[in-house]
Amino acid sequence: MRTLPRWVLIPALLGGLLVLLPLVAMAARVQWDSFGALLTSESSLAALRLSLQTSATSTLACVILGVPMALLLARSDFPGLSLLRSLVLIPLVLPPVVGGIALLYTFGRQGLIGRHLEVLGVQIAFSTTAVVLAQTFVALPFLVISLEGALRTAGTRYEVAAASLGAKPSRVLSRVTLPLALPALLSGTVLSFARALGEFGATITFAGSLQGTTRTLPLEIYLQRESDPQAAIALSVVLMIVAVLIIAVARRRVPL
């Protein structure tokens, strides 16, 4: 601390205010007497229910797809591995709207895969499935990065020792690799859930905004902000509380 010049304090404080002040401003506008009623309105409840369902489903999808991805990226060695590792991060830096467009041209009616599904009578775009797909697309890198990093840091010495004791690869994975990486897996899962819950751009582009079907909490907030600002604030507070809880859980696992 003594080695830092004093002036560093000023921009640092300004940055801190930029993060915290809006939260305080929003909390100050909450009308606590009607808070419960606003949250339990039909459209709010529908959005809440849908958000929890889709986020839980996409988080599960992230675990099912992301754990094997992280294992392969961390433990295998083949040409193009580092390129692949970078490509996996694309959803992280891609504007979500662009992700939504890309998904639309993959799974939409005229899309690469969507047109074949259409023939089979399956429509994905503008359905709840589309919401889950959009959320999985944007949330997957969080789980993969978190787990892959932990696997790399942990190294392979315990796995080599387990094999030396005669444990088959699937046993090494389930009894050694994954238990040791459990903290990272948990924090990665929590981060994926948070990202899925907050997903907006890809969802509205690829899934639209149909109440009860594709209108998740962020979409509901955006819609209510004009017609019923108090409802928008109440829902925002719910998401804020979830965010604080998530940080409390994740902070203990990984240096965020």
Binding site: S164, L165, R171
Partner: protein, 350 residues
């Protein structure tokens, strides 16, 4: 459970062939980077040779077109790092080895408590590895390795990381465990080699320089590394039927000693003498009857226990400080080293 290995690894400049008989413990010794750990990696299946063949009993482990994965080799490695699984208890670690071989849970539990009793750590069964001392952790690692029922046990410097006061107990435990087992041990410690190994193979620059029964190799070393390990001075010369000529010309030193077995006149021989049996004669002094005087230039002095080790012309002499006080020994001085014939053993050079 006998092992045969023949392998080359050009990347590591390794070209070796060795055998370990059933129930035998082989010590691999050699300077750092000689290829000892590479040999263990080849056997455990974490390193593929360019050419070669490794068999355990009648089963091929590694050969052109054949590759048995590490977990199917029944070869278990014990390193200086116990590598106990941190998320399992002490008992859980031993259970892991048994369960990996399909031992039913109930039997594995019973066998685990037997192992724990054997290593005297039954009261620590539910501890986590982080709550163990280094010596305790290594004992658990040994029990875990043995519980895996390996056909061949590899020990890579198993005591290198331990405090000097816990090493003896562990060495004794290893000695008991290795008595009937086929094993290979890599160690820098001559004590490990003497107490644990039936045979020694000396490795340098990826080649095996000499191998044989531990007693023979250490008593009659052929290589300077082995001589250092055994704590001997090693001199090489020609046997002229009576003494060892240490050089080619007529004025070369003639070293008297005791031949070990018959020696052929004119053949290359080695002479070994312990540094403690090398004396120094004061300037102008004569050699006692039956002793050889070797004039050498002092290269260095270093403390050696309660003695001082004087190095001169490749020969080490251990002198008491009292002896040293009467001699002007500085690097560069010429010193007359005195060796008695009965302290020198002479044997053929290979």
């Amino acid at each position: 459970m006998s092992l045969t290995l023949r392998a080359t690894v050009p990347d590591r400049d390794l070209d070796v062939a060795l055998e370990v008989a059933d129930g035998e413990t082989l010590a691999l010794v050699g300077p750092n980077g000689a290829g000892k750990s590479s040999i263990l990696s080849l056997i455990e299946g974490t390193l593929r040779p360019a050419t070669g063949r490794i068999t355990l009993d009648d089963g091929v482990l590694t050969a052109p077109g054949t590759w048995v994965p590490p977990h199917d080799r029944a070869v278990t490695t014990l390193t200086q790092d116990p590598v106990l699984f941190p998320h399992l208890t002490v008992a859980g670690n031993i259970m892991f080895a048994l369960r990996s071989h399909g031992v039913p849970r109930r039997e594995a539990r019973a066998a685990t408590s037997q192992w724990l009793t054997e290593i005297d750590l039954a009261e620590l069964a539910s501890r986590r590895p982080s709550q163990l001392s280094g010596g305790q952790a290594q004992r658990v690692a040994i029990a875990r390795a043995l519980a895996a029922g390996p056909r061949l046990l590899l020990l890579d410097e198993p005591m290198a990381a331990l405090d000097i006061d816990v090493a003896p107990a562990l060495r004794e435990q290893l000695r008991r465990s290795l008595a009937e087992r086929t094993a290979i041990i890599v160690s820098h410690d001559v004590l490990d080699t003497v107490t644990l190994a039936d045979r020694v193979a000396v490795l340098e620059h990826g080649r095996i320089l000499e191998q044989g029964p531990t007693q023979d190799v250490l008593a009659r070393p052929q290589e300077s590394f082995t001589a250092r390990l055994a704590g001997l001075n090693l001199l090489t010369g020609i046997w002229d039927g009576r003494v060892v000529r240490l050089g080619s010309d007529r004025s070369a030193d003639a070293l008297a000693g005791c031949p070990v077995g018959p020696l052929e006149s004119g053949s290359r021989v080695r002479a070994a003498v312990r540094p403690a049996r090398v004396g120094v004669v004061e300037e102008g002094g004569a050699a006692p009857p039956g002793a050889t005087l070797l004039r050498r230039v002092v290269t260095g002095l270093e403390p050696f226990g309660d003695l001082v080790r004087v190095r001169a012309g490749g020969i080490a002499a251990d002198l008491t400080p009292h002896q040293l006080a009467h001699l002007p020994l500085r690097p560069g001085d010429t010193v007359a080293l005195c060796v008695r014939a009965e302290d020198v053993s002479i044997y053929p050079a290979h």
